[in-house]
Symmetry: C2
Subunit: 185 residues, 2 copies
């Protein structure tokens, strides 16, 4: 597939950014390519376009499937697998959030729980330190619980909630004026 300059720049930037999002560069570029292409592409065409090894594409596709960001499809008369990107951005964001929670929050929670259960066997730790570990565990757990509650909301409800957020910000915090413009940092 031939990329126009803007498309190329889109793909390259996604690659850059992807690495800050927990995807690696190639994985992110492949997603970007599929997103911008808007049609199913086979692995070899992806490799051609991005100038990376086929094997690398294969691995990356595997990862994208784990994130559920792309889907396998088939074309009649072609037994190669083709892949399309998830184009609904709410879904995309949700998938990324889900995977990141799984990688970033859940293991932390587990580790903290283990710390708390080991506390009784540790006579070298102070009461206050234990309290701080407990506080962190509790905090993460409630954040995690909240996330799980809203995770499955349909998009429309989520939008409602976001509007409510804005309202809460404006009505219930009279000390702050509602902003008309974004503040600079």
């Amino acid at each position: 597939m031939e990329l126009s300059p803007v498309m190329e720049s889109f793909v390259l930037h996604w690659g850059e950014m992807g690495s800050r999002w927990g995807l690696n560069r190639t994985v992110a570029q492949i997603y970007a390519l599929l997103y911008i292409a808007g049609r199913p592409l086979p692995a070899d065409e992806i490799a051609d376009t991005l100038k990376v090894a086929r094997s690398n594409v294969s691995t990356s596709i595997r990862e994208l499937q784990a994130w559920e960001l792309i889907e396998r499809t088939h074309e009649i008369g072609d037994r190669r697998d083709h892949f399309v990107a998830e184009t609904d951005l709410w879904t995309m964001a949700a998938r990324i959030a889900e995977e990141r929670k799984r990688r970033e929050i859940d293991p932390t929670l587990a580790a903290l729980a283990r710390c708390l259960s080991d506390v009784r066997m540790d006579d070298g730790i102070g009461k206050d330190a234990v309290a701080r570990i407990r506080a962190m565990h509790g905090f993460l757990e409630s954040a995690s619980g909240w996330y799980e509650e809203i995770r499955d909301l349909p998009q429309s409800k989520l939008e409602t909630l976001m509007k409510m957020g804005a309202k809460v910000a404006r009505l219930e915090a009279p000390g702050k004026k509602p902003k008309k413009k974004k503040g600079k940092r």
Copy 2:
């Protein structure tokens, strides 16, 4: 400072996790140490405890200050700088969120905006591809705007909002039963 087994495990796990959070391992360990210590520590004591080079501590502390996760303090009769961790977890989470937005969202938005402005000079790109770029830009911009609106809410309002989230989930989505237990994956 002597670490008890549980404290050590806490610090090590934070180190592991920190790297998934955008901090590097040492930076995260230092934060964890300061958090668990619950009192100001000087740089050399940190280096001793974690067995890392003093210079490394210096660099990491600089980064933690950029994240605003620690603060410099002084003890009378000691001219060394001491450092304490931010112990309020809401604040901690907010700081991490802020920095991540700055690193992950803002540059992406800028790149997308650049793509859109370059579109007129690119005759090789299709209308639908442009529409997809525009969609992504719009999505990120509104998410970013929402974040900015709730960012400055005091903790109490945020908690209100979270409760509202739960309510919206339960009352307005009658198709889904409210869960009593977490699902397994």
